[in-house]
Amino acid sequence: MALVDIYVPKKSPLHGVDPRVKIISAVLLTVVCFFITDLVVLLSLLLYMQILVWSTGVNLKTYSSSFWLVARFSIILMIVWPFFDQVGQPILLDLWIYKPTLPAVLRALAIAMRIFIIASGWLILLLTTRHGQLVRGFVKLGLPYDFGISLSIALRYLPNFLGTIDQIKEAQASRGLESSRGNFVKRARNMIPVLIPTFAIAFRAIEGLSEALHSRGYGANPARTYYRDINMTVYDSIAVALIVSVAALAVVSKVLGIADF
């Protein structure tokens, strides 16, 4: 359950950056990554992202737990890729139909680095931004307020649901149900007695929340006021201008063939 909210309360420079700057940066980084093919550029960017992650003050345990699925996918990608991409010389291994060549392995490595860079970008956003600030950032960027409050509700209720599912699992286990043993079919089937009460609780939560929002006059006044608002500083504006310019320059120069990186 701890993984769901990975925000680390610290006082790093990145924690103080406006959430809109971090959201825009993460989205642009994801887009730009798909245009970079040069291994040296990718490696430099990857190292730079690791410095940024380190500057957030996150401990190694949180960091590594956030990356295990990324690492797992990268390893499988590196193994599977040469089965279909056997172009280039030299051949590094000759195992019947599995003949990984150096260029093919380097291409797989480039994709693995891409996904690590993308993961680092989004990880920085989540490590340094509170849920509330994140939602305010999206609303300020144009997300309709109704969807913003829905997202807040979702992030608020997510740990509750995970706790409820754990409780139901324990209650069913005390009745003899084993939801974490057996083969795939058995485990999936044994989750049904856990899922039914979970959906029933969700349905009741919708009814209760709907009445609570209605009784507080939700939607009666379309003009919204905020107790705590977020404001861009001059440094935030400069950062956005720089990031957007660099990203646009990188994509345009790559598409037009001006630069090869």
């Binding site: 797992r72 279909f84 994709i111 891409r114 993961a119 409050i149 999936a188 899922l195 959906f199 029933a200």
Partner: protein, 182 residues
């Protein structure tokens, strides 16, 4: 937006996210089989296509951003398509008496789109721009997509079957659930 809709979007998204988070390891690349699709299909069957699309896309993307952020763009599109198509099929055949058959067809259509989206993302989008060499075949990057393909089918079919059974049971226990549909 009405308070009821806000509550449906909020709780529905949390439910999809929670069920995407719980799971067990089988898939070699994404790491785990999850029950997120059960919630997406359930919302599509009982509430509507917009709610299924938005709750599915946002709920699953929240978890992907934490566990596997490189899949987030694909998840956003795949789950939105899945929920929207399954929900639309239910609306198209809402008068039909053969609810189980319609729901099965709906999850098959939605699930197929989800599988196709992930397949294209892993095959074409992830290695984008890496095939500038004309000697490299268009199929060179298909390996990771093929490795994941059977597990995505398993995910969609198992969750679809569970969702059909679950919806039947919950509709019987809570007839008021019909009020959630517009």
């Amino acid at each position: 937006m009405s308070p009821k809709k806000v509550a449906v979007f909020g709780i529905g998204t949390a439910l999809v996210a929670a069920l995407t988070y719980i799971g067990f390891p089988i898939t070699p690349t994404r790491g785990y089989f999850n029950f997120g699709e059960v919630a997406i299909f359930f919302i599509a069957f009982t509430v509507g296509w917009r709610e299924a699309a938005i709750c599915g896309a946002v709920g699953a993307t929240i978890i992907d951003l934490i566990l596997a952020p490189f899949f987030a763009p694909a998840t956003l599109v795949a789950k939105a398509l899945e929920g929207a198509v399954a929900g639309m099929m239910i609306i198209m055949f809402i008068e039909s008496k053969r609810k189980t058959a319609v729901r099965t067809a709906a999850f098959a259509a939605g699930g197929s789109l989800m599988i196709a989206t992930y397949f294209i993302y892993e095959w074409i989008i992830l290695p984008l721009n890496l095939f500038s060499d004309p000697n490299i075949s268009f199929y060179s990057g298909i390996g990771p997509a093929i490795a994941e393909f059977p597990f995505n089918i398993l995910q969609a079919v198992a969750c679809g079957v569970i969702a059909v059974m679950l919806t039947k049971g919950i509709e019987r226990a809570y007839p008021r659930i019909a009020d959630l549909r517009d």
